[in-house]
Symmetry: C2
Subunit: 498 residues, 2 copies
């Protein structure tokens, strides 16, 4: 028992350090003055190195081994799950050399700035040498972590335990097969939906107030979270009771509103993990795919539903009486569900979204394997955009530079977005099977039933079950593309009268 | 050479960790949601413990000893100064047990919240048990650090190297002797100055914009700093190129404006330390007294001068045309220099200010020595306010609870405010002796000459010289009360026609 508690205390220290690192990152993306980057990169490097040191010291190994040896916990107990997680985390951490961990933190802190600069200059070449550095680091990371089939699997497993290219390729093939004809059919009927209503001049303060109220209704606890502005919206957290989401505003109504619902979905997951798991190896969301299922469920299944807006559209009209004069629910519902090929992933509709993911998945695989040269990546990007979506980005900012992830050193991360989409529909359908009143409650602005179901079946478990097991427990099935494809066909078939 | 460089690298890691700790603190005081405090306290405790561990490990001792042994640096070189500082810092750190460092961080993170709560409830008793805890921690800290004469000296030396109660008592006696009659004389002529002009309704946004422009003119580099709101204004920094100041707004014009100038004074010091000292033991301001001399110089010697407002009053009138219609420079100058006993230190005028300091100095000494019981402290506070300033606070929030410092575990800190006041005038007079054009330049809104002098004589040196030596080098004299007393008598004699 004592070794187990000592181990928990030690891992809590690692966790506390990592949370300080997460705050350094949050601050860098929200409030840090430009000049702070040099010292910030050093500070992040030191924190990463020390957290890694503390995690991988022989004392941790000793405590872990003793705790495992002495354990008489039931296999299904929290304690046993904690030991399994601690073992997995420790084994992964020890595979990474300390110098590589420190180098990664330093290079990515700087690369983020260089990416933002290159993006604002719309010039990929300004970022090219940084991408080279990052690819090199990622290759060494994959080699250190080890893999059976390909380097990419090692990276993917960091974000989605157990996921491999061999499992992913057929999923993405099926997605492509289902989506591309739908995109074409919708494009042919493009005139059926007009979203001009979204692009009037909506002032930022009123947008903010409206979104904050919606998030409060949904169950986001503002005493344990906050929202700020950043170039790229994200969610981070420092424990379950300090959850930070960010958004960005433009004059249209859709971007910040749906972005806020999206990040709130991540935030609700973190806020509703069982308190007993706080600062233990079972704290936090279990995988990025499961995390994304939460953000997409709230953004799309809830936030782009007719029920949701039957409650909120009158409130939105009160908040923006001029912009929405004479408009009605049906027109608004259709507008927020307009599907059309567009260059920016985060603004893509539900139908085209996954093609953006597949595109980057293919490119980052080729880059990692050296089959595509960094210098040729923008051309390859643009050619694929033409192939999959029939459009050509006007510049690199609208194309290959649009997303922050590579600068964060996060190759293997993108596929989890699509996994989240797929899973969001499976969870939604199971929730409605268990509680068919959910849509009616949403139409009254009441989200308790839905949040309760998610808390019970997903949130509270934290990292107790590996993602594959959690998905099986929550949905009664493995990950399946079909429900998601059916959902898209049914919803957009109706909207576009296909 | 190699031991010296390895030592620098190691101490830079300690510094990087401490900067992460400082960000945790800044965030707690500016943006952290209420619910974040539990995890935040743990995170701060972990960072403090690990920074202390790293600093005091035998490897640091070994590197320090080798670097000292191998050193053939000239005694006046930066390197020799760095080794002396590193030795002093190391010896101090090793005296403090790790558990005490961790306990201090955790207790003070929580105590800050309890203090804020007690203050908002205006009830000292809600904070009393926390003050007991903190006094206990401070006594153990003093005992661990060691002292010759009294525990208070050990605490004082943390903030003002070399300062003792034996040196401080006569300084404070002289200050009281010079100030109290001046307060009485001014009170008798209170009708001479009316500051109603400051208490009209000045909107926050315009106040913010005006202050930001002034700070830019003064030389505050906004690309290497920022300003936010907090309950208690402060300045912190994460290196020389990320300097954070905070302020608070009320409807009057004085509080945020002079508060901003004050915190900017701290910020300019940090921004102008020689870059070569970044993340070494010579980085950062040398003592709190010297730091406060910078904030008070900009707030009072510059910011409450006629020259300054001869340039800015017309701009202020443009920014607030309604509030300042028909007003003139002379009336404004007199209003911002109104001197009258008031309960809140941070809003006190230059004449009464030090009496607030002396009051808390006396009380914290008595508390530390157990001559005053915590339960009796508010009554003792109020009685002294009556004695020194002739006023009675209406409640604890206006009295003993007004300042955050005790909750931070910062006993021995307060005297440095008065040391800063005294020094600010010595520096100002020396600057004017060297560059008599300074006031004329200020009247043109040109601060290069003054900032250049301060950079040259104070800022750039960082912690290279101990405070006593820095003061001697910069002013050609030791710390002396007389110039400060003369300045007050002359300035306020004129304003109040004494």
């Amino acid at each position: 028992m004592s070794a187990f508690n000592d181990l928990k205390k030690r891992l809590a220290d690692v966790h506390n350090l990592e949370m300080a690192g997460a705050l350094l990152d949050w601050d860098q993306q929200t409030y840090m003055p430009r000049g702070g980057i040099g010292a910030r990169a050093e500070s992040r490097a030191t924190i990463s190195k020390l957290a890694h040191d503390l995690h991988t010291q022989s004392e941790t190994a000793r405590l872990l081994e003793r705790a495992e040896r002495e354990s008489d916990f039931a296999p299904e107990s929290d304690q046993s799950a904690m030991l399994r997680r601690a073992r997995r985390d420790f084994d992964k951490a020890t595979k990474l050399p300390a110098a590589l961990v420190e180098e990664t933190a330093r290079v990515t802190a700087l690369a983020q700035v260089e990416w933002a600069h290159a993006r604002s200059e719309k010039d990929f070449q300004l970022f090219a040498t940084w991408l080279e550095k990052i690819l090199d680091i990622q290759r060494r990371t994959a080699d250190a972590l080890g893999f059976e089939d390909c380097r990419y699997d090692a990276l993917l497993d960091q974000y989605e335990e157990g996921m491999t290219r061999a499992r992913l390729d057929p999923i993405f093939e099926e997605l492509k097969r289902e989506t591309v004809p739908l995109v074409h059919a919708i494009s042919a009927n493009d005139g059926k939906v007009d979203d001009a209503i979204l692009h009037r001049d909506y002032d930022e303060i009123s947008q903010k107030t409206f979104a904050e109220n919606v998030l409060r209704d949904c169950g986001f606890d503002w005493s344990r979270g906050r929202q700020d502005k950043s170039v790229h919206p994200f969610c981070t957290n420092f424990g379950q009771s300090d959850v930070r989401i960010t958004t960005r505003y433009d004059s249209g109504i859709a971007s910040a509103l749906f972005g806020s619902l999206h990040e709130m979905g991540h935030g609700l997951y973190e806020q509703n993990i069982a308190p007993k798991f706080e600062s233990t190896p079972l704290g936090g969301g279990v995988s990025l795919g499961v995390h994304e299922s939460q953000s997409r469920l709230w953004e799309n299944l809830v936030g782009r539903s007719r029920e949701f807006w039957s409650h909120y559209f009158p409130q939105l009209q009160s908040a923006f009486p001029e912009q929405l004069k004479g408009e009605n629910l049906d027109g608004f519902y259709r507008a927020i569900n307009r599907a059309a090929p567009s260059p920016i992933r985060v603004e893509a509709d539900e139908v085209t979204y996954n093609l953006h993911i597949i595109l980057r998945y293919e490119i980052e695989n080729e880059l990692l394997e050296g089959r595509l040269a960094v210098a040729d990546a923008p051309a390859s990007w643009n050619a694929r955009m033409q192939d999959y979506l029939g459009i050509e980005p006007t510049d690199d900012a609208q194309g290959i530079l649009q997303d922050v992830h590579w600068s964060l050193g996060a190759l293997g991360y993108f596929p989890t977005y699509s996994l989240g989409n797929i899973l969001s529909v499976q969870l939604w359908e199971k929730a409605l099977e268990d509680a068919p009143e959910i849509p009616a409650a949403i139409a009254r602005g009441d989200f308790h039933l839905l949040l309760g179901w998610l808390r019970e079946n997903v949130h509270q478990h934290g990292r107790k079950y590996p993602p594959v097991e959690l998905i099986q427990r929550a949905t009664g099935s493995e990950l399946r593309v079909a429900p998601y494809a059916d959902y898209l066909k049914s919803k957009f078939g109706a909207i576009y009268e296909l």
